[in-house]
Amino acid sequence: MKSLLSGNEAVARGAWEAGCTVATAYPGTPSTEILENIIKYPGIYTEWAVNEKVALEVAAGACFSGARALVAMKHVGLNVAADPMFTMGYSGVTGGFVIISADDPGLWSSQNEQDNRHYGRHAKIPILEPSDSNEAKLFTKLGFEISEKFDTPVLLRLTTRICHSTCPVELGKREKPKRKAYVKDIKKRLFLPAHGRLRHVVIEARLKKLTAFSETLSYNTIEWGKKTIGIITSGISYQYAKEAFPNASFLKLSLTHPIPEKLIRRFARRVKKIIVVEEGDPILETEIRAMGIKVTGKAKIPVCGELTQKIVRESFVRKTSARIKPYKVPARPPVLCPGCPHRGVYHIINKLKLTVIGDIGCYTLGALPPLNAMDTCICMGASVTNAHGLEKALGKDFSKKLVAVIGDSTFFHSGITGLANAVYNRGNLNLLILDNYTTAMTGHQPHPGTGKLARGEQGKRIPPEEVVKGCGVEFLKIVDPNDLKATEHAIKQALEFDGVAVLIFRRPCALLLKPNPAYVVAPDLCKGCRLCLRIGCPAINLQFPEDREKPLAVIDPTLCFGCGLCAQVCTCHAILAPTKIKKDKQ
């Protein structure tokens, strides 16, 4: 039987079919739906961990026990989880262990474009790269098999166009893999230098065995076409290359680390010219060239951005001009939703002209016009620490104009250590925690501050304020960000406070609530001053009626959430709550 599955759904299916019993993740586009879909299958313990390092270590613990375990994350998540991954590479596995990295070429939803195929090489573990959903499912299962057969974690490397593309997938049944028992084995799991030294020798030998396996693996295949061009490729690039050069010969690699050197030589001998088509860095290209084989690749194909069949083709044949020239139309970047609780905080920050050390989440959108209320955003958790460093370099007075902004999920992910550090080192950090009770950006996953578990059951809630107090913070306030006066007052107090001050702005994400009745502009009161536009609400538009000298603000009732923020900024009192209007009419 076949079913339409996205790459992420297919991985989830593969995990289930493989008899995986423990799966963990921290959300991050494009990987999020992997765990979200695993949750739908019975017999797998699933957990949203607080961050990727934690997720990987929890899965590793399950793997010690002999269970098949999987951990999923986006590419930058593997930076966070790199520490345990490297030594798990040395340790090997008991039950099969698959680590999933979902890379984001083209930066559809990320802060960088790093190519995590480097990680598999760096950690000396095998890499599997599926080229569609069908292979995503197959390679998840294959990953567990290789993992157990060669005593190694396996890196399953996906990209956005694999994760978020859908195609028909052949479904199978759930296996019941034989499970090894937990046996104490300190040489394999207790990494004293003496043990590490021994394991290093073992994993070098393991790489050799994996190379031999790679030579004969049926998924590393040659598709003969014309012998004038031979293309070596893997993952989604295979699909693009197949359309760009339908008649060429192909060597499609699926186990891309370690590479099958003999197979590559055999292919190379039979074709005239070799092109390596890969998205991102010249990794296969460099390794094949190091074998002494002449290839073309990144000299022609771009390193930056994602590929398409057109880019692949036009890297080698003349460019065709566009049939329809692109129209110059205003860009449409994402925006804070109507009713978003983050908006009030950014409005005040903008008004007070503060330096804002930011972080990652929906609230990063406060960086865009008209709010323009963010100066930096490096990686999750960096708001707290970057702000602390800035203050230490520029002096205490600077902290009177400096705030760090972090979301609730991000705070639990990697904000807490930075906060402890700032308190300990006598910083003057002003930290604003935007607590919307969810991980909004990635589609509303729970976290410790919500107390809900992955499958929706009740876990133990950890209120962020308790953590803040536990870190020794002496100034703490909880504020409703939709109350602009209270927000402004609290921020000013925090700025004045000597020492670390934390404000928790608490209000649920608008997407989790039903909207209130829409607000309305009274045309006779609106002076067209544009003040209401400064909060950057997508529901408020300015119109220019012919019978009016001044423009008129208009609220789209289908978009308005009824949060009332605009009514608070309107100095003409022209924006009315629906209840108010009814009363006036009576």
Binding site: S165, Q239, K310, Y327, P330
Partner: protein, 202 residues
């Protein structure tokens, strides 16, 4: 019209229900025994940003992406987005546009202008069908049916069996909304004749 391959671009603003529409479309094509590939954008762009979904239907599909200038149909949920992605349309292709303007932030703040005469510009490039799906959805009693109404219009160009669509809808929406969405779909399919005649009058 019976063909063996279609490339369709569906575009609009994040949050308009494009993902559901493309899921139903793919499912219907799948039930018609086609190979299907769909590629879409999740995450950040869904927060009111510009979004595009590629749907490719055929005997064997490799790339999940449609090349610019190759799409048989562009289905736009919003006018400005129709103009942005019209470059995907192939010669003599078909464009279905939801007659709705959602100004981006730069337009709301006055930093940019919403493009004028979008209809006129689009007309140069293919057959254009404008649908006031919002109005019809309100008549049906639920604004959220806009996506399925537009899908109904789209279905007139694909020649799939009615049953495939119905099954696809029932597999992709919650049980209690199936009837509403089937009604919305049927409404969409019945629209085309009217739209056509409006076009001829002009």
């Amino acid at each position: 019209m019976k063909r063996d391959s279609f490339d369709l671009v569906i575009c609009g603003v994040g949050g308009q229900g494009i993902i559901l529409a493309s899921n139903v479309l793919c499912h219907a094509a799948f039930l018609e025994s086609f190979d299907v590939k769909k590629s879409e954008v999740h995450g950040m762009a869904q927060r009111g940003g510009s979004v595009i979904t590629h749907v490719r239907i055929g005997k064997k599909v490799h790339s999940p992406l449609i090349e610019q200038g190759n799409s048989d149909i562009v289905l736009a949920f919003e006018k400005l987005e129709a103009l942005r992605y019209i470059r995907y349309l192939k010669k003599n292709g078909t464009v279905i546009v939801n007659d709705r303007e959602i100004p981006p932030m730069s337009v709301l703040t006055g930093a940019a202008q919403y493009p004028a005469n979008i209809k006129g510009k689009l007309k140069r490039h293919g057959m254009i069908y404008f649908v006031d799906a919002e109005k019809i959805a309100l008549e049906l009693g639920d604004r959220r049916t806009v996506n399925i109404i537009l899908l109904g219009v789209l279905s007139c160009f694909l020649g799939f069996k009615k049953k495939s669509w119905k099954t696809a809808i029932s597999k992709n929406v919650k049980k209690k909304f199936v009837d509403l969405n089937v009604a919305a779909f049927n409404k969409g399919t019945s629209l085309l004749r009217n739209i056509y005649s409006i076009k001829k009058e002009k």
